[in-house]
């Protein structure tokens, strides 16, 4: 896969990881951004033409000051699809990306192919409060996000040596920039009333959840199924919230099979 960049009509500049051939598939990443290695995208690219844009504020994408609220984010998703000149792509969103993808599908239900929501954010259950990702010590993050936190930690840092002050500083700055952006739709409670709009969602939908998700626990999968009655649910074992990264094989298989 290779990087390219596009400018949206709104004026954001976005880097997009692109590869493969077949029906177009857009992947929207989570609050943590794309990681150094994204093997599930490589696998999806074997059957689809994959586009994985970085949100403004992530990596080399800029223009974050132009996006302030949920509507801005969702319209930005459509602006990107326009800028990439894609017609009715399948949309796959993970966590925060799933929240935005679902919002996009409510706004323009006839403009996408199928929809995959991997452990999407955007819904809140009082009986299962989602941990506050904006108030975590660095080592606590991997414990929440991964079935296997030790492996997860290595995946997140991409092998950077964080005992090195400079590397730590770079990592911290990039992470602050990403989460500052994510906070606009996730802080202090990751719920921007998407559930009252989900009745509009008509795309064929697959929900995928990691069986050991400790951030957005599987009880949320049941809630999403109730909100989108036509959705199917697949649960992946040995995976936490970062299921595309922890079980790339099982994840991409489930997605490819659904998209056909």
């Amino acid at each position: 896969m290779k990087w390219q960049s596009v400018d949206t009509r709104k004026g954001t500049h976005c880097r997009v990881l692109e590869g493969g051939s077949g029906a177009p598939l857009v992947f929207f990443h989570s609050a943590g951004g794309l990681l150094a290695e994204n093997p599930f995208l490589e696998r999806l690219a074997q059957t689809h033409h994959v586009f994985a844009p970085e949100w403004p504020g992530y990596g080399e994408s800029t223009g974050e000051e132009r996006l302030e609220d949920m509507l801005d984010f969702a319209l930005h998703g459509w602006d990107l699809i326009d800028a990439l000149a894609l017609r009715r792509p399948h949309v796959v969103g993970h966590s925060m990306g799933g929240m935005i993808a679902a919002e996009m599908a409510c706004l323009a239900p006839r403009d996408l192919g199928k929809l995959v929501l991997a452990a999407p954010a955007g819904v809140w259950l009082d009986e299962h409060p989602i941990p506050d990702i904006f108030a975590l010590l660095p080592f606590q993050l991997a414990e929440l996000l991964f079935h296997d936190p030790q492996r997860g930690q290595a995946l997140m840092t991409g092998g950077a040596d964080l005992s090195d002050m400079e590397a730590l500083k770079d990592f911290y700055l990039a992470s602050q920039r990403r989460l500052a952006m994510a906070g606009k739709i996730l802080f202090p409670i990751p719920n921007r009333r998407l559930s009252k709009r989900l009745y509009r969602l008509s795309a064929e939908t697959l929900l995928v959840w990691g069986a050991s998700d400790r951030l957005i626990v599987p009880a949320y999968a049941a809630r999403w199924r109730a909100l989108i009655p036509h959705a199917r649910l697949e649960t992946i074992d040995g995976a936490g919230h970062m299921l595309p990264y922890e079980q790339p094989e099982a994840f991409s298989k489930a997605v490819s099979a659904f998209l056909g």
Partner: protein
């Protein structure tokens, strides 16, 4: 030189093992640690102290706003200030301040500050902090990356509300009001002196200089560590071509006075250590949510919050360290005078917020320290800025014919028929 007697109002009953048992004094501190019946006595003791400071001749008496915080019992500083308007008539009442990004709508602050200015006869110093991330983001739910934008908008609304003589419509991004019409309005014209308490955000310097507001650096870590930040501020002042009046800047400093240096340790050490060890025990992620500081400031201040070193400072603090590093200025009147002179001149500040009540310090020690300061230290530090003696741009301008409410007996009959002023 102006001296303000400031009380953070800490909860004095945090248990010995607080640090070990709880992760934070702020945001998620268990409220079972608060006992409202004891709280009744605590509030009245603290209010008595502020009134005592007025009697001792301090220029100002100060309070501030914190939420869900074991060292700050003033979620609403305006309530505290309102009581002070009824029991004092001389000192400036410094509310440093209202975290305006969290008020909905912000006109509420324009109104309440106007009430305080009117009730006090024009003695209000109005502080507009962005608010700590603990308060503004984690307790009051404001989105970190949008907090500064919202703060600016709130500021614009308040200042316009004070300045305008006619109702106006305010079409903000965060606040829309069709009829803004501040009633009552403040006595002080064009508005009460504005103080902007800041940590280390470099954008705050320019904001203060754009409007000629006072910049107040409220640190608990003393003037040696505060120096580099204030040097940065003064560089900015020079670069912007503003005059270098020391009254543009204020600094907060913990001060403890006793008859001798040894006595200062004996009297105050345990209480200062209570403050540093328990009251400043904050879960680090609460202090730096992504987006609260701008990227420019994060880069400038680098990893201050993240480094283990900073956390370590607080772990095994001793009195000697507190003194050596000047987190605390303590000792005989002469020691305190010398060190404060160094502090005031070194930082080039015209206003000092003195913290005399620290941690769980009992009332009599607070009063002892404050009185020694007022009698034996303050008079010697009054004239450190002779060339700026007449610069009153950052101080209150009370009305002359003001009522002295502290001289009125509550509920007393009045002997003569009083008429409204004509």
């Amino acid at each position: 030189m102006k001296f303000t007697w400031f009380n953070l109002m800490p909860w004095p009953y945090l248990p010995d093992e607080f640090r070990e048992k709880h992760r934070s004094v702020w945001v998620d501190i268990p409220n079972t640690l608060y006992d409202p019946r004891k709280g009744h006595h605590v509030y009245h003791t603290y209010l008595d102290q502020l009134e005592y400071a007025d009697a001792l001749g301090f220029d100002g008496i100060g309070c501030n706003e914190h939420h869900q915080n074991g060292y700050g019992l003033m979620p609403s500083p305006n309530i505290i200030a309102a009581t002070l308007t009824r029991r004092t008539s001389r000192a400036a009442i410094c509310v440093i301040g209202n975290s305006i990004a969290g008020y909905n709508p912000p006109i509420r602050v324009a109104e309440e500050f106007a009430m305080l200015d009117v009730m006090s006869g024009g003695r209000l110093v109005a502080g507009f902090p962005v608010g700590t991330p603990m308060d503004t983001n984690f307790c009051y739910g404001q989105i970190p990356a949008l907090t500064r934008d919202k703060y600016r908008e709130a500021h614009d609304m308040i200042m316009k509300a004070w300045a305008s003589e006619e109702p106006f419509a305010f079409d903000g991004k965060y606040n829309q009001l069709r009829w803004v019409n501040c009633w009552p309005k403040p006595i002080q014209k064009p508005h009460p002196p504005i103080y902007i308490p800041g940590g280390g955000s470099i954008e705050t310097w320019d904001f203060c200089l754009d409007y000629d507001y006072n910049y107040s650096y409220l640190s608990f870590f003393g003037y040696l560590r505060g120096k580099s930040l204030l040097d940065g501020y003064w560089e900015r002042v020079a670069k912007r071509g503003k005059d270098e009046s020391p009254y543009r800047a204020a600094f907060a400093q913990i001060v403890c006075v006793a008859d001798t240096d040894a006595q200062a340790e004996e009297l105050y050490a345990e209480h200062c250590l209570y403050f540093f060890n328990r009251c400043l025990h904050v879960f680090p992620p609460f202090a730096d949510p992504p987006g609260y500081r701008t990227m420019a400031t994060v880069k400038y201040g680098a990893l201050s919050q993240l480094t283990q070193a900073r956390q370590k400072i607080l772990e095994n603090l001793t009195w000697k360290q507190l003194i050596d590093e000047r987190f605390v200025i303590a000792g005989s009147p002469e020691t305190v005078r010398q060190q404060l002179e160094e502090c005031i001149k070194g930082l080039r500040i015209g206003h000092l917020f003195c913290l005399f009540h620290n941690g769980d310090m009992p009332d009599w020690k607070v009063r002892h320290s404050s009185r020694l300061f007022a009698e034996q230290v303050m008079p010697h530090l009054r004239d450190l800025w002779p060339e700026w003696k007449h610069d009153d741009r950052w101080w209150v301008h009370p009305m002359d014919e003001r009522i002295r409410p502290e001289e009125r007996q509550p509920g007393a009959e009045k002997k003569e028929r009083e008429e409204w002023p004509r």
